[in-house]
Amino acid sequence: MKKFMTGNEAVARGAFEAGVTFASAYPGTPSTEILENMAQYKEDIYSEWSPNEKVALEVALGASIAGARSLAAMKHVGVNVAADPMFTFGYSGVTGGLVLVSADDPGCHSSQNEQDNRYYAKFAKIACIEPSDSQESKDYLKAAFEISEKYQVAVLYRMTTRVCHSKGLVALDDRKSVEAIPYVKQADRYVCAPATAKRNHPIVEAKLVELEKFSNETELNRIEWHDKKIGIVTNGVAYTYAREVFGESASYLKIGFSYPLPMQKIADFAKEVETLYVIEELEPYMEEQMKAAGIPCIGKDKIPNVGELNPDIIAKALLGEERETKTLEADKVVGRPPTLCAGCPHRGFFYELAKKKNVMVTGDIGCYTLGCAEPLNTIDTVICMGGSISMGHGAKKAFEKNNVDKKVVAVIGDSTFFHTGVNSLIDVAYNSGNTVSVILDNRITGMTGHQENPGSGYTLMGDPANIIDIPALVKSIGIKHVVSINPLHLDEVDKALEDAFAYDGPSVIITRWPCALKRFTPEDKAEFDLERKVCVVVEDKCKGCKICTKTGCPAISFDKTTKKAAIDANMCVGCTVCLQACPFDAIEKAGE
């Protein structure tokens, strides 16, 4: 039976077929759907959202040491968070097969950088496997578990956006039940104190020699002989682009097992062809190792190491072929940046914050990053998950030490606060900070498409769960000035900000209202008045001042001829932020 699946769905299916019994992740584009799809196999696989990637990898490691086939999935930058355990289990190895899925994002479709995580496998001395389409995403995952258990090595399973989010036909197999490896205490391996680490290091070096032998033999690194004038060493989705461009006019060495690289197989392939190209997305990971081994090849001299590739870029770079294209006149297209949704609870908060003067705003990663955009234009920095509160603390200390009078507000979402923001807030409380930390609690992990989190009341597998009491948590950390507000009430937001600015010491504001797109839980319905009554513009009261458009709501438009604002009834959810912003009472709730 064949099914049309994304690479991410195929990975979940592969885990099911491979006899995996444990899976964990923190959501992050383009990896999120791997664990979302894992939940359907809950009869056989326990799966969970962990609060961050480090925890996700550690729980999977614990499951592996306990003898189970285990998988942890995350986006490329998530691996930075999880790097600490990864580098040490690189030495200790694993027991039950352990696969760390790293979903890289060439082209930064939804990310803050486009780092190439193949280097992590080499750096941490673990194996690396790279599928190039949905079928391989499933099949290679099963191979990854076999290899992981045979060599007691973790596998970095490196995917990219176009592998994760492209659909292709996948032939399905049955699940193979795998007995958990009986647990035996192995303190000499897993208590990674200095003496153990010294003992483990040469063991892993010897293991890498074995793995390179395997790499030279495995069909995961396969040669497709066609015309030998051109030979192409390629990997991942780049293989599909190369096949598209060169067809059977070139021979291919398709690298599916990319650490350690099959250097002998590459050298033998190179000898058979006249010209050798290396076609790989992002960094010259393979090219560098080939050149270091004295294998002449052409790669990044011609192919960009910035952004994602496609067949067109390769044809242009290597064949000088450029397709004819036609464009419209420049004035026929206007930008369309992403915006906060109509009814987004973050809007009311940012609308008021934007009015405050002499404030530095450190932001974080989530939908609310969009508070940086016009017309709200409130955020000064966004670097990494959880960084807002700590960066704000550092900035405020620096301002104080250098006699700069500036207020600092840090904004962070609920899920990002649980991720690593809580550590930052501990720092603020411990080191007598003087910032305003704002936790934008929309009762869900929004940006990645509504995943449950430790504050939402449910687990990935749909079971009811403990709900973190954010105000109590914040107080127990040592923050004394804590208020919870409704961010859709502009007067409440204004007062909370002014009180926090007036307070000498660290303060926390929690804005609590559910995401407008969320499927409301019974708890949401009990706590919030979610009846949808749309807002309308009363035309004869509208003076055309355009203040309502400064909320940046996509449901509000302004007609330049009539000089009146209008609200799209299909989009409006009746949040009333525009109604409160209007100085002429020209916006009302429909039917009131």
Partner: protein, 192 residues
Amino acid sequence: MSEVKNILLAGVGGQGIILASKILATGLIDAGYDVKMSEVHGMAQRGGSVTTQVRFGEKVYSPIIGKGQADILVSFETMETGRYVEFLKADGKVVLNDFEMPSAVILSGAAEYPTGVVESVQEKFETTVIKAADLAQELGNIKTMNVIIVGALIKAMGLQDLNWKAVIEKTVKEKFVDMNLKAIELGMSQVK
């Protein structure tokens, strides 16, 4: 048929482009083609510009295309057409849903919605213009706009004889099957 055909669907987050692509891809798979489809998730969904690509033929390798490679561009929103026409082959076709959704910069008054887009597209490409929003209103549900557009695309590609009823039954919830069948037929009727 050894040649791979490329369809680029473009519009705005929330317009139902992914479902539309899924309907199209399912029909092509049922007809025996190898199909690859590519989507973008995440940040772009928040009212941003969204595209998907559907490629079909005897054997398809790459899930995506570059500039100058699409046989058909289907735009769900007027201005979005202009953003993606450079992905079309010089003799590529356009199915254009004439439906304006002002972006944030236009709503805030920082820019004006461009004029003359349809005419400019018609000048340069073989173009089918439909008004799927009006047709969807006639059907009584604005949300059928995406399926009406798929209907027009299917006819423009000459694929109207595939079993689209079976496809709709597979891809939408049971209670929406009748509505979507009407929508797809209405879309087909818009193309001569």
